[in-house]
Symmetry: C2
Subunit: 204 residues, 2 copies
């Protein structure tokens, strides 16, 4: 029996720590994979085509948008970034679990196109902590800090579009919870259960 | 914020090992409790009122059935057994997680009265293994073995009434999965999320 993989979509406001948690989970598990995104931005030093990104032209990117070849895409600082749909669906069908760490707009696009995904929202332990984490990153002007903070404030409302939330008070604990969610989702009774029951009965 | 507890309902065919898994999970966790059942059967040596069971008369039990005071009940070998509804709901409202290890008929009654429960079905690793576990218990006639086995066979069909299934190939692994399901369910975005978001925003 080839059980379909899970599409795990992780978002959260800037400073909530989603990147750190995803990295930790990916290090722990050999049954969860990331998907390589396509982008129109120039490769940076050392970036490898097909590993870090698929580097494509804006024309090609826009053609792919028109042909609905992305499960989600976004424009960030004049560059386009997108997750190729076919690659992701193929891997899921082969039983691979795919982790997408994307922003809320992207997650909502995925939800529309693939509602059976597992949508996880990472929350900071408190707004004060979020603020100090954003400040701790440095290299921000007071205005951009204020902008980041108020956008985090608005983003938190979107948690009710997600299936699960994790309060990131400690990375280890938050990663444990993300693993629990993934393991629990694999135990859900869905259409594959008929196959399991049949398998049991044929055995006799 | 006082988050409501989970009502965790565990069933599975005889020989699937649900008792062993529940025992293991209860030993590991101090945030999961069992509920004391009421029964009309006579107390056995050493059984304590209110700990092992609430021992009540058949008249009282039947009055409680009529007044819908049980979240589920069943008659087994001329004795009635039931789970008092009010006690369970009170504990859930206080934030306690309650584990009910009950048969399928009981679980379906709970599902009707408390659909927000978490319904977990324990499956044996294989029908052959189930058969050998039932035989291994001894003290059965060939006829009662055959009866037990064919009833397990029928019971497995009910898995699709449950939210989750766990294949009990190893007790440790099955208990890990049950813990994951419980932890994941605690992360679900439900009505309490509004409270969390408000809490976050008030803080600022």
């Amino acid at each position: 029996m080839n059980k379909k993989g899970l599409l795990i979509v992780v978002s959260g406001p800037s400073g909530a720590g989603k990147g750190t948690i995803c990295k930790e989970v990916l290090e722990r598990r050999d049954d969860i994979f990331v998907s390589t995104s396509a982008t129109t931005r120039e490769p940076r030093n050392g970036e490898i085509e097909g590993v870090n990104y698929f580097f494509i032209s804006r024309e090609e990117f826009e053609r792919k948008i028109a042909e609905e070849e992305f499960i989600e895409y976004a424009e960030v600082y004049k560059n386009l970034y997108g997750t190729p749909k076919e690659t992701v669906l193929d891997k899921l069908n082969q039983g691979e679990n795919i982790l997408l760490e994307i922003d809320i707009q992207g997650a909502l696009q995925v939800k529309k196109r693939y509602p059976e995904g597992v949508f996880i929202f990472i929350l900071p332990p408190s707004m004060a902590e979020l603020k100090s984490r954003i400040i701790g990153r440095g290299s921000e002007t007071p205005e951009s800090l204020e902008r980041r903070f108020s956008s985090a404030f608005e983003e938190i409302e979107f948690v009710n579009q997600y299936d699960y939330y994790i309060i990131n008070d400690q990375v280890k604990r938050a990663a444990d919870l993300m693993e629990s969610i993934i393991d629990a989702e694999r135990c859900k009774v869905i259409e594959d259960i008929e196959e399991i029951v049949t398998m049991f009965k044929e055995e006799v």
